[in-house]
């Protein structure tokens, strides 16, 4: 009987071997995957086992951590002025995961980042608990407050940049939510989370970065840039030879209408921008053609799916299209869409004499002992237009504010350039239009601020809506706040 016994011994050995192999597979090969699986609660337990690092604006912490009595999560994230800063911070929730900077800089905030290794080791030796690092942002608290208050209970968003560096100064979105209320693991947190998910107004949507709207007449800045860059006109005071009425190309005499009876026949570029002529810019777009318009838009950041601030912005689109649609896209309609950040980028490129800087909001990452681990350096994104053409556009935009549709944005003693926009949307353009205003302010040290403001819908009567009236005061307040703090 011994021969089969030996075989059975081998069989039992194989059973044990199979277990050993499987064990190596699970605990060695797949270990990292399992350890960091998003449903593995240990990840959250570790994340909240100590106070998280903070997000900092103007030297002030806009986040915090409090102790809780939960077994799994010793600490809970708190936010100061949560709704105002939500587009910047996003949220870090014990139960619902994290987003935005909280997610992208998680390793620094939890102190797990490899660059904090030395700190961790020192802390371990000296017996201090592990601490997280801080994320210092580029935001301007006063500008953010102006933006958030300016939007008030209206639905909309503001994005403000420093054109010289690309630093994001304000990033507001309304209606907003309080990330503190979903940070914990209590029943109330869950209730709030469910309410936010079902919210019709999409309070959790970061409209400044992640919602794209038809840019409307503000897009005429890009169309004008394209006209100048491609040499369609040599000067901004040269007649554009545009007819009125103007019919869309390749259509059976379908007219492109202006808003009201405005002097657009054969208007100069300056005049056409001042009164916002659809006919003139529609014709320019048609004359240049889809390819050239698309190229110019892309230089400003359109069609780039990876605009990372580091929170990724939605892609603004200037798509390939047929001639009539392209003419419409030239005045910011049709399938042309842009995020508020995108329009702030357009404005900032013009204000910065043609140089577009990469927008960013994380200035530096800091170790718990305040050592700087990483400093973001301003980076050029592209050069959408030459310096001289940029100055021509500035001239045109300043005319708009001086005596055009944007007079509401005037600031005493400061040069302000701007552009209004009223974008139609919805079926047959029935829905309330989006009111846009983009502008920059300029001092003798260059332009410290470019801002884009969009107000999504309003109870205001339809014909009353014009970017100038609704959005310009918000933009103005943001610019003033930046100018004041710059001094």
């Amino acid at each position: 009987m011994n021969k089969p016994l030996r075989r059975i011994a081998i069989f039992c050995g194989l059973l044990v071997l199979a277990l050993l192999v499987r064990d190596n597979w699970v605990q060695f090969v797949q270990a990292d995957e399992l350890k960091n699986h998003k449903k593995n609660r240990r990840v959250q337990i570790a994340t909240y086992s100590k106070p998280r690092g903070d997000i900092i604006v103007d030297g002030q912490r806009i986040t915090g951590s409090t102790k809780t009595d939960s077994i799994d999560f010793k600490y809970k994230r708190t936010y100061k002025n949560g709704p105002m800063w939500a587009p910047v911070t996003s949220y870090a929730s014990q139960v619902f995961g994290s987003r935005g900077i909280e997610a992208l800089e998680d390793k620094i905030l939890t102190g797990e980042d490899d660059r904090l290794f030395f700190n961790r080791t020192i802390d371990m030796v000296t017996g201090k608990g592990k601490k997280g690092g801080d994320v210092v942002t580029t935001l301007n608290a006063k500008a953010q407050e102006a933006a958030f208050k300016g939007l008030g209970d209206k639905k909309g968003a503001v994005a403000a940049l420093d054109p010289r560096t690309g630093k994001i100064l304000a990033l507001a979105s309304t209606p907003s939510y309080d990330p503190s209320k979903i940070a914990g693991s209590s029943k109330e947190d869950e209730k709030e989370w469910k309410r936010l998910l079902a919210d019709k107004d999409k309070a959790m949507l970061n409209r400044a970065l992640q919602e794209s709207y038809p840019p409307g007449s503000t897009f005429k800045l890009v169309t004008a840039s394209a006209a100048l860059e491609n040499g369609l006109y040599s000067g901004i005071d040269e007649p554009t030879k545009s007819p009125l009425p103007y019919y869309l190309p390749d259509t059976n005499k379908q007219p492109l209408n202006n808003e009201g009876d405005i002097p657009c026949k054969n208007a100069t570029l300056r005049e056409a921008l001042r009164v916002s002529c659809n006919t003139v810019f529609g014709k320019i777009s048609a004359d240049l053609g889809n390819k050239k318009m698309k190229e110019e838009a892309e230089k400003f950041g359109f069609n780039d799916p990876k605009v990372d601030t580091p929170t990724r912005a939605a892609e603004s689109k200037y798509p390939k299209d047929n001639r009539p649609q392209n003419a419409m896209a030239g005045i910011g309609q049709a399938s042309n869409t842009a995020t508020p950040l995108q329009m702030a980028m357009v404005t900032s490129a013009i204000a910065n004499n043609g140089k577009l800087m990469q927008p960013y909001m994380v200035d530096k990452l800091r170790a718990p002992n305040l050592n700087v681990i990483e400093q973001t350096e301003p980076k050029e994104y592209s050069r959408p237009l030459s310096s001289s053409n940029a100055q021509k556009l500035q001239d045109m935009m300043e005319t708009v504010v001086e005596k055009g549709t944007g007079t509401m944005a005037q600031i005493d003693g400061v040069k302000v350039g701007g552009k209004t926009g009223t974008a139609q949307h919805g079926e047959n353009n029935k829905a309330n239009p989006y009111a846009w205003f983009v502008s920059y302010a300029k001092t003798d040290k260059g332009s410290p601020v470019a801002v884009a403001c969009v107000i999504e819908s309003s109870d205001t009567l339809r014909d009353d809506i014009a970017g100038g009236k609704l959005a310009a005061p918000v933009a103005k307040a943001v610019m003033e706040a930046v100018l004041k703090t710059a001094k």
């Binding site: 016994l5 050995g13 059973l15 605990q27 449903k39 240990r42």
Partner: protein
Amino acid sequence: MSSATTTATTTISTVGPPSRRNTELALLVFAVVIPCFAYANVGLALSDEMPSGMLGYGVGLGLLAGVGHLVVRKFAPYADPLLLPLATLLNGLGLVLIWRLDQSERLARTAKFQGFTFQASAPNQLLFSAIAIALFVAVLVFLKDHRILQRYTYISMVVALILLVAPIFFPGKNGAKIWIVIPGLGSIQPGEFAKIILAVFFAGYLMVKRDALALASRRFMGLYLPRGRDLGPIIVVWVLSLLILVFETDLGTSLLFFGMFVVMLYVATERTSWIVFGLLMSAGGAAVVGTFEPHVHVRVMAWLHPFDVFTTGQGTEQIAQSLFAFGSGGVFGTGWGQGHSDLISFAANSDFIFATVGEELGLAGTMAMLLVYGLIVERGVRTALAARDPFGKLLAVGLSAAFAIQVFVVAGGVMGLIPMTGMTMPFLAQGGSSVIANWALIAILMKISDTARRPAPAPAPSPDAEMTQVVRP
């Protein structure tokens, strides 16, 4: 003819192998000290101080091991020296693991949340371990020779059948009907005892029938096909194990019994064809039942897609949690008391106790633990090889194979190698029936090995030799 050659070639010598009892004692010291260190480790990790029960625990485990050792010295002096220390080590570590999970605030809160009181399991488990050692001692003292068991072949069959069938009449727990509930006393898991009793029956039955089963067969395509009527017993056992699967929804037990039977049949008849038949039948049966029996089907699905529960919300997340525990342990583990294996929540200290080993001791500790189990099986099979009587061989190999299959099924289940079954890790897991039955199993194996290694009594003076004696002057 010289008498010297005769002595040299004979396998039964009067000198015999050394008893190795001192080796066993030395190993036992390690088997007691290691769990004590583990116990201290848990206490230090959880509350930064030596656990208060430390002394009691150490003395308790030491006493149990000591009593076991002394009895072995007296009643089975030639028994295998490894089995007792290995089982003691596993039992000791199991107690530490259970105690460690008793300290889990999370489990306590979950229990409270679900409306029942959380009870510490370690004290009970220590009591069960003591009872188990008592049974171990009883087997060694009263079972003079394992061949006595052969007399009870058919009684064993009846008892085993009763034990297997009984749970059908008791309410199931969590989908599996594997308990006999005695009101006021608790519940026992008869499957654990049936394992041993069935091995006795199979060994006795096969020893008698092996020739018929082995020789009366036709050769077909290189395989010896048994005659139709000889197929009877295997079909009966197969049907029985399928019935267990269907009525008690216990995948593990049915796999265990069928596997044990096929192994013993193969050893008894030396016919590979039985293995082929066995595999085909179990595969067929498992496939059919796995598809149609809802409880088993759920387990198979949970095995194939362990993480689906998070998206669909259906089924149990135990498998996923168990895999997380193993993965989070990594190569070296988190250390005693520092893991979060209690996230498995339900059955964390019984069916899933091995996940705690995985997380807190890591790949290194888990492999060591598996090798300890492997060693026990190896010593068991070695005992079978050394045994001189066919009944002892069959019984030893049956018990060893059953032990190996059980370890494979449980560890494989929690590591996601095979579908989860309702069995417990021998010696580690919380549960009285399991620890008692497995100590009895070890006792029987030690008794067989004692008989096998015991030197034969000095041959009686041969009358022939006397007749040819040279008449001295």
